[in-house]
Amino acid sequence: MPLIVLRDLTKRYPGGVVALDGLTLDLEPGIIGLVGSNGAGKSTLLKILLGLLEPTSGSVEVMGMDVRGQGIAIRQLVGYMPEVDALPPDVSATDFVSHMAQMSGLPAPAARERTAEVLRHVGLYEERYRAIGGYSTGMRQRVKLAQALVHDPRVLLLDEPTNGLDPAGRDEMLALVRRTGAEFGITVILASHLLGEIERVCDFLVAINGGRLLRAAPLGDFTERTGYLAVEVEEGQELLARALEARGLRVVVNGRTVVVPIADDRPYDQVRDAIAELDLPLVRLEQRRHGLEDLFADPDTLTAGAPR
């Protein structure tokens, strides 16, 4: 039995906007990335899974429970980290998270213990007793994650968790998300605009567009090898291209990279020998993979984002 089952899920807002349009999907436990264009219905889907929004039609089951009618039972076992800032400034992280644990139905002593544990896990130490108003963006994001984890949910819903973080902050947040899914055994659904982020953290990807399912598959399926060998040399790209053409290979030069189509293993040695003969510095040699953004590229914008 899958963890989450969507059948023909439709959400139409008053005013006629259709956020979700006949979405049918089974999700198994894991770390699941959710991507889609703005307004594609990502946030709507998360809110429906939480029972914060009523679906217009179709059915949604989370852990075998129907979101219509069993919302509270579901929400006791689901954690939610919204995209927007959601923290009162004049309360300490400890007090706030422990209050939120009680709001999830934990007894007060358990709420306190879990709060101490979970704040340690997200990396908040001395500052946990100070008012949240003085926290940095990174610390606030950690508190938001802590309140979503404090009741030990089976499913964690994260809406753009790295918003506003700098590279180091993003790294740390993504590592936390990865650990939450991989080590704590909690299913994570991560909604993000940043495909690179999803690639780093998730093992399954759901792409929706205009409220419809674009594709749902293990991440590896999106990044399959392409049958092109990319050879990056520090200098002498043109020389290499000519040498390879002389060996009978078809070649495209793309900036620092020389791209060679490969049908079998023979071009590998031809490339090696050509580089060795020309005494060129070989920086990188690998089979091209599909990128996640291929999902979203219009034919006319594909060239702009072409990898170098």
């Binding site: 959601a86 209050h99 009680q102 999830s104 139905g105 007894p107 358990a110």
Partner: protein
């Protein structure tokens, strides 16, 4: 990045901390297998939290200033009255004093009602506005309670806080008078009839004022606006009533006055204690007492219902 504190081994049997041998304990993520008490527990916890929030507990020193001053001012007359009565009794002047002291059960409502309105104006925006201003509502509504539970727990917290501020001085007065009486049994006899009256009056006051303030604050996330509107809701209706009464005479004023919370509570208080109303307009309108009580109750119920409706319709 903080490295996970993953244990290399986990000892199963407890090991003595002294002596040979040792053990490494698992400090990694622990799953929670304890009780999940569900909706009722969550709502009750929120009610308690709201009650404490109304007094600024858990939010730094400054948040406590307004509730402490207002609460203190509400209790002060009762303490003074008891002290004066005790001194007078010692001096043998107790009977002479009786009836002349302005602090009595039936006058206490008039002494505290303004303080209670200010308490509402200061604290209701904290209880209802903060969660909206700072976007905390999605965190509540994605937990083990419903929007209705949230609204009712918050309103109940505010009403309970008001009840404490309102009832506590009356109880002080009651206990003081019983103790000051020549002997406690007689005192108890004398004072007991007032108890149900002031309890009911305090319940009506807390219910109606809390209901109105909660409703206004729930609709007005901006703190300053909410405070101004709550004060306005207490000041403006009596002025309108006075105007209408002077222009139009009794009938319209009789209806309008039932929209003025201060006048409703004054009327109920007068009827409960069988005393005279100070406000000449209110007195002149000659409205049956039970109508005041019924209106206060209806007002409390209606405002709570509208507050619930507000939270059910907030789009997150």
């Amino acid at each position: 990045m903080t490295e996970p504190l993953r244990p290399t081994t986990i000892s199963v049997a407890p090991t003595a901390a002294t002596g040979p041998g040792g053990s490494i304990y698992d400090l990694g993520y622990q799953s929670y297998n304890g009780a999940r008490l569900g909706r009722r527990a969550a709502a009750t916890a929120l009610y308690r939290y709201a009650f404490r929030e109304a007094f600024g507990v858990g939010r730094g020193g400054r948040a406590k200033i307004a509730p402490l001053i207002l609460g203190g001012l509400a209790i002060l007359p009762a303490i003074l009255a008891v002290v004066v009565a005790a001194l007078a009794a010692q001096a043998g002047a107790g009977d002479a004093l009786e009836g002349r002291v302005p602090v009595r059960y039936e006058t206490y409502h008039g002494l505290t009602v303004t303080l209670l309105m200010l308490f509402c104006a200061a604290q209701a925006p904290e209880l209802f506005g903060r969660d909206q201003r700072y976007g905390v509502l999605p965190l509540y509504f994605s937990r083990a309670l419903t929007r209705t539970d949230y609204a009712i727990a918050k309103v109940a917290g505010l009403m309970s806080a008001l009840l404490v501020v309102d009832l506590l001085p009356q109880l002080i007065l009651f206990v003081g008078r019983v103790l000051v009486a020549p002997d406690p049994i007689t005192g108890l006899h004398q004072e007991a009839p007032a108890v149900p009256r002031f309890v009911l009056q305090c319940l009506l006051t807390a219910g109606l004022l809390g209901g109105i303030a909660g409703l206004i604050a729930a609709w007005t996330p901006r703190r300053a606006y909410a405070t101004a509107m709550i004060i306005g809701a207490s000041i403006i209706p009596p002025i309108v009533v006075a105007l209408v009464a002077s222009l139009n005479g009794g009938d319209t004023a009789r209806i309008i006055i039932l929209l003025s919370p201060g006048d409703i509570l004054d009327g109920a208080n007068a009827w409960l204690f069988g005393s005279r109303v100070d406000n000449p307009i209110l007195a002149s309108l000659d409205i049956p007492g039970p109508l005041f009580i019924a209106t206060a109750l209806a007002g409390a119920v209606a405002t709570v219902a509208l507050t619930v409706r507000r939270y059910r319709r907030i789009v997150l």
